[in-house]
């Protein structure tokens, strides 16, 4: 994969002054502006994503799979406006997810591994959004569309939504394993090895969620302590960690092809040059 390496005309030294001036410079003028912008979009995306699901649409934590049809219909009725507005926001900003995946693929490009890792991750995670996110949203929007719809059909949409969301596993499982293997065999020290193993933890959550296709009650059901709560905690930790990891990677980035320099060493080098 190639970038045309043409240094931008702007100066590489950040200006002094109030923080918002410096942040604006990093996003628009710095030599690393493409990476910082991608990172900022990633943070903004997740800051909208979770509040929409939990507060606006109120579809997470998920409802009970054991509810009778009347309760399911009532559940949709209570979210008549929250679901279409909340998911409207998701569909409006959803494309930004491609930039998140691109930044993670870039992290693998910076490693001493074949480009196949970054490409595979990019394609798998781009694909993942359809069964893992958009189908859930569409099914729930269709569910709220007609309050007088036959309860049997509403019940089918209810199952379809939550099972496609919880039960879409392979894309996240294999995607995380690809990132993990790349980190573990990388010689450019882009990420610490323990972060590679954290990817394994995230991958394992996709294994323990599989029984949600079988059990309607208990810890393994789609809203169970293991299939949902434990997985959500692991994913939360994983997500915050990878946001910090990518931040550190961009700070250390030297646009070379060898090992990524440490921050302290970079500073020492700068002082030496001065």
């Amino acid at each position: 994969m190639s970038a045309v390496i043409t240094p931008p005309a702007s100066s590489a030294t950040p200006p002094t002054g109030p923080p918002h001036h410096r942040i604006a410079w990093h996003l628009w003028r710095s030599p690393k502006r493409e990476l910082w912008l991608a990172w900022a979009i990633l943070v903004a995306f997740y800051n909208l994503f979770f509040p929409v699901f939990f507060i606006v649409a109120q579809v997470q934590p998920p409802p009970q799979p054991t509810w009778d049809l009347a309760t399911q219909v009532h559940w949709f009725h209570e979210r008549q406006l929250g679901i279409p507005i909340g998911f409207g926001i998701i569909f409006a900003i959803g494309g930004m997810n491609a930039i998140n995946n691109a930044l993670i693929a870039y992290s693998m490009r910076r490693m001493s591994v074949t480009r196949a890792f970054g490409y595979s991750y990019l394609i798998i995670y781009s694909l993942s959004a359809i069964p893992g996110l958009y189908l859930l949203c569409i099914a729930l929007i269709v569910g709220t569309l007609r309050p007088d719809r036959d309860p049997e059909a509403v019940g089918w949409l209810y199952d379809f939504a939550f099972l496609s969301f919880d039960g879409t596993m392979g894309v996240f499982l294999i995607g995380s394993l690809i990132w993990m293997v790349a980190i573990l065999i990388d010689k450019n020290r882009v990420f610490p090895k323990w972060f590679g193993y954290l990817n394994l933890c995230n991958a394992l959550t996709e294994v323990v969620v599989a029984p949600c296709w079988i059990f309607r009650r208990g810890v393994l059901a789609w809203n169970g302590q293991i299939a949902w709560w434990l997985d959500m905690v692991v994913f939360g930790v994983y997500q915050v960690t990878f946001i910090v990891m990518l931040f550190q990677m961009i700070r250390r980035e030297d646009f070379g092809t060898g090992p990524l320099p440490d921050l302290a060493r970079k500073k020492a080098q700068k002082n030496g040059e001065a």
Binding site: M1, S2, A3, V4, I5, T6, P8, A9, S10, P31, K32, R33, E34, L35, L37, A38, L81, I83, P84, I85, F87, G88, I89, I90, F91, A92, G94, G95, M96, N97, A98, I99, N101, A102, L103, Y106, R109, R115, G118, L122, I123, Y125, S126, L127, A129, I130, Y134, L135, I138, A139, I141, V142, T144, L145, R146, R149, D150, A153, L157, T257
Partner: protein, 262 residues
């Protein structure tokens, strides 16, 4: 796809290596007018699009719509099923142009690559639902209405990656700092405008009537006109970039002989 090191900077023989393989790009480019004619014909052929179907239709009327228009629904949707993905090679040509821009990283071309297949994939889900509803028109009207709702909502709401690719392309153009940028700045502004025009369609689930409903001014007309205008404008702009690159490469090849033989 080319790899790092095949850039324009330095090294013996680099001018030759810098010549990206572009054979066949023109063929892919000229599939666009053909595909656009097919898309337009299929659009007009589908009776649900000519004057968009109302979301307030009762289930019986929806079932009757499928019973009465079987041939037109099937043929238009089979055409869309065959040729809907013709957008992908065009988007990939845009990816190839993004890679020629003066960027330090391939972030924008990666992001664009992540977008290209998802729009057509969501469209195919809508397409299958329309065809399914037409497969057994004698089905319980409630179920036909459910398939019809699923098709219309999916078709209207498939905007995330179309918005994404317009915004990504705009950012890529803004960051293309070189004396002769690949695309002019107005192409970036235009893409942001199109992205903005597609946003209301994301809120199609809010109402069954009015501008946001699936047959409304914003969710149907504004969104579909924006997509059509984007295809035409980007087709022309992309065509000019592709032909310009070919001319530049020809000039380089016809340059000093030692460069070619290096």
């Amino acid at each position: 796809m080319s790899d790092a090191g095949e850039s324009d900077v330095g090294g013996p023989g680099s001018a030759r290596r810098a010549l990206r393989r572009i054979d066949g790009e023109v063929i892919l480019l000229w599939t666009l007018p053909a595909a656009a004619i097919i898309w337009g014909s299929a659009f007009l052929l589908f009776p649900g699009f000519r004057s968009p179907m109302s979301p307030t239709m009762p289930a019986d009327q929806v079932a009757a719509f499928y019973r009465d228009n079987l041939a037109a629904i099937r043929s238009s949707m089979i055409l869309f099923n065959w040729f809907g993905v013709c957008l992908v090679p065009i988007l990939i040509l845009i990816v190839m142009q993004i890679r020629r821009m003066a960027h330090r990283t391939p972030i924008f071309s990666y992001a664009m690559l992540g977008c290209v297949a998802s729009g057509p994939a969501l469209f195919l889900i809508a397409n299958v639902c329309w065809l399914l509803a037409a497969f057994r028109p004698e089905r319980n009207p409630e179920l036909t209405q459910l398939l019809n709702d699923f098709a219309w909502i999916t078709f209207t709401i498939l905007v995330p990656y179309l918005i994404g690719q317009s915004v990504i392309l705009a950012l890529a153009i803004y960051f293309d700092d070189q004396p002769r940028p690949i695309f002019n700045r107005w192409v970036a502004h235009f893409n942001l405008l199109v992205a903005l025009a597609l946003v209301p369609a994301a809120f199609v689930g809010v109402a069954l009537t009015g501008p946001l409903a699936w047959d409304g001014v914003l969710s149907f007309w504004l969104k579909n006109i924006a997509i059509a205008v984007w295809i035409v404008v980007m087709g022309v702009v992309l065509g000019r970039a592709v032909y310009r690159e070919r001319a530049e490469q020809r000039q380089r090849l016809e340059g000093p002989e030692e460069l070619v033989d290096a």
